[in-house]
Amino acid sequence: MDVGTSLHLAVALDGAPGGEPPPAVPAPAAVWADRAAEAERGLLDLLTLDDAHAPPPGGGARPEAVQLAAALGALTRWIGIVPTVTPTHSEPFHLSTAVATLDFVTTGRAGCLVRAGLDRAEDGTAGRTPGSAEERLAETTEAVEVIRALWDSWDDDAEIRDTARGLFLDRTRIRPVAHRGPHLTVRGPSVTPRPPQGQPPVLAAVRDEGTRRLAVRGADLALLDAADPDDARAQAALLRAAEAAAGRPGPPLLIFADLPVALDGDPRRAAARRPAGPGAFAGTPEALAAALAHWQAAGLDGVRLLPASVDRDLPAVTRGVVPALQARGAFRRRQEAGTLRARLGLPRPAARPGR
């Protein structure tokens, strides 16, 4: 079937909130590789890595997501790798070079999931006091602008290696970003060349009006919490209206729903592990594949599955749900070459001076 109409599938490699707590000691890279390889074998579009500047509420360890993403990026060949970043608590300049570096590591499979650090437990870690929730959302939106401008501060062909003239760079193809906003002043240019995708996809979770505005202004892909396909349809309509009101340039937001899942060949065993959260699903892989058709029909581009148990439910997705979707002609059957942007159907943008 036409891949363009195929559903996109993402997986949250940290599992569902309130699911199994992470281990107290994070595993070395090789162990993480098994999970990433499982997701990759299942032909999933991308995996996300959660993050916060505070320990997980349920206990356990929390590695820094970009660093973990880089290790997974080096161990995989195909899947998109999307760590969470928090620009209110991190410098946008560092985040821009870090995600660009991840894009080089993965040869074009990086993205980032931006969050405004709204949790007060993190405040003491930022080295300064972030503002009100509203200001944090505004600052995050501004930071995404800066991060994108830094990615665009080198043209793709700025490195010329002109041996005749002894010039390594064409300096006319590298520009400061000269950003002066209410929250940030960043001159640039980046110290990292433009990443392979130009603009790695930016994801944002939409939970209310503030985060909806952030997604519309800054993201390529929105993650919704929706109770059911009807709710998803209503929320997608709100997003489209917000896009129109904001006069959003470029392609419309891709819209995914977040679905916590517990999967088992025996639906009663799955039900016993039913995760919390809107849209939660407990049942057989085949039943989830059937349910996904309804979510897709609600106008979604894809779903992000949040496994109640990564070690149990991720293989159930890759070995159960994916084959069932393939049998319905609703999912790819092989790895397609190309970048994460290309897989998501997003064109590669040219570097825009003064963006």
Partner: protein, 421 residues
């Protein structure tokens, strides 16, 4: 291999740094990308094949500029240092991984998490090369904005390292609170202590403040003093200061940065060194670099002419360089080569191995942080040709100890005792 048995030859510590920027010969057919991950993977695997202790990459937070214009002559464009190291952790097994990160333009909670994550991912192979950032313009890219004065940079580094160390030690169970002039931190860390206790701390900075900071906190001083006599003086002084603070001087290793050029004979090596120097300091590079030091535009000049007198005051570095050029009859290009460039080790592989061994044996260094002049193949020749000689001499491991951490590989078997306050 971590602790040599009694009577064994003193082990040579070896690190490889990915050559960036100024002195990379980029017009060579073997010269590849300075940013593609494949280049980093090749360089780190070569160093691991050579049984090096660690791989280090530098950091700059601003593209090099002069008089408001980007420098277009040198290799530019580099990765986010810890992120590329975390990726390298996944494709290596034994070699230490040391990103360079500024204590001036990072926050301790975030930096400590990045390094601790690298330590867990690599099963105990992480280090941190602590720099304070000399470029006064770097601040324009960060919330802080303005730069900090030299003394404040080291005062911040001091508070920063104390806070980071406490976060690493406190793990996920002990909340931390630091209120200082420069660091204001409150929170519980998100990771338990890593496999090597504390990541290996490297310090790069040569002032009195920098050295004082190193003897308090560092496991390794990344020094500039690559010449044997100078190196011996520096290492003796650093060790004495460490001892005075109650530290075992052997817990502080001194590793100068060093370049190398090899040849099949001594004459061949000298010729290659000359050829590499001429390619590193092309006519346009010579005019630009000396012009920058002179504060003058020399672009119209003939690089083979003697330099004009600099405008600066007598006693300035430019004036001293000019005096040298006059005394030795040097052209602009020759002056640039002689004063800005140094191939520490030039010779046949056997000669270079012998000199490294001798320098370490006679206390000029504990080892070297080597930079080749080609990316990413700069260590191929060293690993293939010099390393076997070092191994034959019994001063470099022939195999890594399985499961050893970076700290153990460096012979720093114990966690450092508490910092003197």
């Amino acid at each position: 291999m971590p602790v040599p048995p009694p009577g064994a030859r003193r082990q040579v510590l070896l690190a490889a740094t990915f050559p960036h920027s100024v002195w990379v010969v980029w017009d060579d057919p073997r010269s590849g990308s300075q940013i593609d991950f494949a280049s980093f993977r090749h360089a780190v695997r070569t160093a691991e094949r050579g049984r090096f202790d660690f791989f280090l990459i530098a950091e700059t937070l601003r593209l090099r500029e002069h008089a408001g214009r980007l420098d277009d002559l040198e290799v530019a464009g580099r990765p986010h240092s810890p992120t590329v190291m975390s990726a390298l952790a996944a494709v290596t097994r034994h070699i230490g991984l040391v990103p360079t990160m500024s204590s001036t333009y990072n926050e301790p909670y975030e930096l400590a998490r990045q390094i601790a994550t690298l330590d867990h991912l690599s099963a105990g192979r992480a280090g941190w090369n602590i720099v304070t950032t000399a470029d006064p313009e770097a601040g324009v890219n960060f919330r802080r904005g303005a730069h900090l004065a030299h003394a404040d940079r080291y005062a911040r580094a001091e508070e920063f390292v104390r806070a980071a160390t406490a976060l690493w030690a406190g793990g996920t169970t002990t909340p931390q609170r630091h209120r200082g002039t420069h660091i204001d931190l409150e929170g519980t860390f998100t990771l338990p202590p890593g496999p090597q206790g504390r990541p290996v701390l490297v310090q790069a900075g040569d002032s009195a403040d920098g050295q004082a900071f190193a003897v308090r906190h560092a496991d390794i001083v990344f020094s500039l003093h690559d010449r044997p006599a100078e190196g011996r003086r520096f290492r003796t002084a650093i060790r004495a200061r460490a001892r005075a603070l109650g530290r075992d001087p052997d817990s502080l290793k001194v590793m100068p940065g060093a370049g190398f050029v090899l040849g099949d004979t001594a004459g061949d090596a000298a010729e290659r060194s000359r050829d590499v120097a001429l390619r590193q300091v092309t006519p346009v590079v010579a005019l630009t670099r000396i012009g920058q030091l002179w504060g003058a535009d020399l672009s119209g000049r003939d690089p083979d002419d003697p330099p004009p007198p600099p405008a600066g005051p007598p006693g300035s570095p430019a004036a001293a360089m000019y005096d040298r050029a006059v005394a030795e009859g040097l052209s602009i290009r020759e002056l640039a080569i002689r004063s800005l460039l140094r191939h520490t080790f030039t010779g046949t592989p056997a000669e270079v191995a012998a000199r490294i061994d001798e320098n370490v044996r006679t206390g000029a260094a504990d080892g070297y942080i080597l930079a080749g002049h080609l990316n990413p193949v700069g260590f191929d020749e060293f690993t293939d040709r010099v390393v076997p000689h070092l191994q034959e001499r019994g001063v470099l491991r022939t195999a890594y100890t399985e499961g050893a951490t970076l700290r153990e590989n460096l012979g720093l078997t114990t966690r450092r005792p508490g910092v003197a306050r």
